[in-house]
């Protein structure tokens, strides 16, 4: 893999990059089986997590990944007050530059912020989710989970269900899966699924269409009410119309389909309780693979900090 400083989107990666990161993810996962779950690869390197949006899961997944590579992790808390005051991202970049960080992991509610930081920093910048734009580490862990389950991603059919419009997960995961030869479809409430002519991805609006399409994997997205200023769909309808109900779970079981979800799960909204214990529910695998995938990403990026210091 050619030296690459940042991971902002899947689109920016070559096929070789994608394959290499996935291949190393598998080796990273082996480390978890050792009695010492740590390797010295990033010893002495500093990793900063810079989250402008609250997220316990992604942040701790990155922190565990960095720890297992022996890096020093610093958490940069951006107070909501300074964001409200309109502190420019450039001011923050100046601060980060002075800290001489090697890796910066960014999450922000605005699409495009990590790219701006990456352009002005020597540190390797990893996009941990920006607006509705991209969430590439999630894409890698999803692709890896499917590869682990089925042996390969190519030829598999994955339907992503829920709020596609606001979802960076849908964008990044669909991109990586299609690059790896899988077919992807979108399903969700009308106002939340972009038109096929804009996405190039088949657009469904009900479960019958989904089952007729014969998917292998049902990928559920979290219904994010906090992102919606004005309601997009009637309250109280979602589970019956778009969730995995117990009845739908029986069909999913009959057809031997897998269920995935980026978490955290809204039980009783996207998914019924029983589905969480379903034999082909891969949600916990995703969490574990998330750490391995993020280790692989950290390992494969090359900060430009060491050359000049």
């Amino acid at each position: 893999m050619n030296p690459r400083k940042d991971l902002i989107t899947i689109d920016a990666l070559s096929d070789e990059d994608i394959h290499t990161i996935l291949e190393s993810t598998s080796a990273m996962k082996d480390i978890f089986t050792k009695s010492v779950k740590k390797v010295p690869a990033l010893k002495g390197k500093s990793v900063l997590t810079l989250f402008y949006e609250p997220s316990t899961r992604t942040r701790s997944s990155f922190e565990v990944a960095a720890n297992r590579l022996s890096a020093d992790v610093t958490t940069f808390t951006v107070s909501t007050s300074s964001v409200v005051k309109g502190e420019s991202v450039h001011d923050t970049i100046d601060t980060l530059m002075s800290m001489k960080m090697d890796y910066i992991i960014v999450r922000h509610k605005n699409s495009g912020i990590p790219a701006v930081i990456a352009r002005h920093c020597k540190a390797a910048v990893i996009n941990a989710g920006d607006g509705a734009h991209a969430h590439p580490s999630q894409a890698f862990l999803d692709a890896f989970t499917i590869k682990e389950k089925y042996g390969e991603v190519g030829g598999k059919r994955v339907v992503i269900i829920g709020d596609i419009l606001h979802s960076r997960v849908a964008r990044s995961t669909s991109t990586i899966l299609r690059r790896l030869g899988a077919e992807v479809a979108y399903m969700g409430p009308g106002p939340l699924v972009p038109q096929e002519k804009h996405t190039g991805i088949p657009r469904f609006t009900n479960w019958e269409q989904v089952f007729n399409w014969k998917p292998d994997v049902i990928y559920l997205l979290r219904v994010q009410n906090e992102r919606m200023d004005t309601p997009f769909f009637p309250r109280g309808d979602y589970h019956q119309a778009f969730g995995v109900t117990e009845e739908r779970l029986r069909r999913i079981d009959d057809l031997n389909l897998s269920i995935m979800h980026p978490g955290p799960v809204n039980r009783g909204v996207e998914i019924c309780d029983a589905a969480m214990d379903y034999r082909n529910c891969l949600i916990n695998n995703q969490v574990e693979n998330g750490i391995a995938a993020r280790m692989s990403i950290l390992y494969h990026l090359t900060p430009q900090t060491q050359n000049n210091d």
Partner: protein, 432 residues
């Protein structure tokens, strides 16, 4: 000082060869009309080759050059963040002259908030002193452009304001606007407003399409602009007010205005910003904030329909929608960066290079849309001399090239996609 003679000029509107005598010392000032356009200070026009040039006279050989009235821009913002007002006025004036623009309608901005008499007075004074180009302020529709309380229209009109605009701000208070229109109609004021339904476009950043999807940016629906245009036309018609639709960006927007004009709606005019004729949403690429505009850049089919609108007269004017944004602001992420481009410095060369030269518009269409119509809508008036202002002439040399660089940009900021590109044509303005 003797008169200046211009020989072998080609009149842009009809291709006629002309010799002209301009500026006088002792001659009686007369106004000559050529193709219905008054030519300021021109005292004699003859067919090429017939003019006798006295010994020692100043002669401009205009062989191969085009003669046309200078352009009037109906939509410019001049405030530069971090610059003094005087500096903003000076720089914008320089930029305008370089781009072939002799005068402009200045949109209100927070620093030039034309909602009261004293701001207008001090602006007029500063503009007269500092600007090389005429600057006609557009009065605010509402106090502070807040969309709630009407400004003193009588007072503004008495200071020479003929057009009212809250710039990019669109109110959702239609009752207030309806009343404003009824009131201002009595004063023969024109309302210059952009079509929009604010509730539909809040937190949106670009045209909805493949690019907005992949960048994860919420799309500004075209229907919001179109509903807005339809609403404005109906309101103005009912109130009997003159209406100028600003920066139309969609094909259906053009169609709505065309239908209204065909229906015989009086006092209705419309404009398109040059960038909406030249660029599409795909130019945004990977979050290029230079291409963040309001309304957003749309599809190629919209560009085509807008051009068609200019040709058939549905769209009366091509404007710059000149909006200086400092580099710091545009270097932010796409969501936070301000909308707008600067276009005055490059206006006529860009129109020539991208519209006239490829045959998309004729010189006659450009003169109509950039010189005659906008001046007619703005009716610039010299209050000291108590006469209507008349456009000066400019000479355009189409065979020269110039590369747009930081050094050639006079307007004070660099937010133009033309930076680094080579444009055809050079401008001589003023002629003498």
């Amino acid at each position: 000082m003797t008169n200046t003679y211009i020989t072998n000029a080609t009149w842009a509107l009809n291709g006629q060869k002309l010799d002209l005598r301009m500026g006088q010392s002792g001659d009686e000032p007369t106004t000559i009309f050529l193709d219905d356009i008054p030519l300021e200070g021109v005292t004699g026009v003859t067919d090429a080759g017939e003019m006798k040039i006295p010994e020692g006279a100043r002669v401009i050989d205009a062989t191969g050059k085009l003669l046309l009235p200078a352009l009037f821009d109906l939509h410019a913002k001049i405030e530069i963040a971090g610059c003094s007002k005087r500096e903003s006025i000076y720089r914008t004036g320089q930029a305008a002259i370089q781009g072939g623009v002799w005068g402009m309608l200045v949109m209100p901005t927070p620093g030039f908030c034309f909602d009261n008499a004293s701001t207008l007075d001090s602006f007029d004074e500063a503009a007269t002193q500092r600007s090389a180009a005429a600057m006609i302020p557009a009065g605010c529709i509402t106090e502070g452009m807040q969309g709630s309380q009407q400004t003193p229209y009588n007072t503004l009109a008495a200071r020479g304001v003929s057009i009212l605009s809250d710039a990019e701000h669109v109110t959702d208070n239609l009752l207030m606007l309806h009343r404003a229109m009824k009131y201002a109609a009595e004063l023969d004021l024109t309302f210059a407003i952009r079509g929009d339904v604010p509730a539909l476009t809040r937190n949106t950043y670009m045209h909805p399409g493949t690019t907005s999807y992949s960048l994860g940016l919420h799309g500004t629906p075209a229907c919001a602009e179109e509903i807005g245009i339809e609403t404005l036309i109906r309101l103005a018609e009912d109130a009997g007010a003159k209406l100028h639709i600003q920066t139309v960006s969609t094909a259906e927007g053009v169609a709505i205005i065309r239908r209204a004009k065909q229906r015989g709606v009086k006092g209705l005019t419309a404009e398109v910003a040059l960038h909406h004729l030249l660029y599409t949403h795909e130019n945004v690429g990977d979050y290029n904030t230079t291409f963040k505009t309001l309304p957003p850049l749309r599809e190629q089919s919209d560009c085509d329909a807008l051009l068609e609108g200019v040709k058939d007269g549905t769209i009366d004017c091509i404007v710059t929608d000149h909006t200086p944004c400092i580099p710091f602001a545009k270097k932010q992420d796409f969501v936070s960066a301000p909308q707008g481009m600067v276009a005055l410095d490059t206006f006529l060369p860009a129109i020539y290079t991208y519209l006239i030269k490829p045959g998309k518009l004729s010189w006659a269409e450009v003169v109509r849309a950039c010189c005659i119509n906008p001046a007619e809508i703005a009716t610039p008036y010299d209050h000291e001399e108590d006469t209507p202002m008349v456009a000066p002439l400019l000479l355009f040399a189409p065979d020269t090239e110039m590369t747009v660089t930081e050094a050639t940009m006079n307007c004070g900021t660099l937010n133009t996609p033309l930076l680094g590109s080579t444009l055809n044509g050079s401008i001589t303005l003023p002629l003498c």
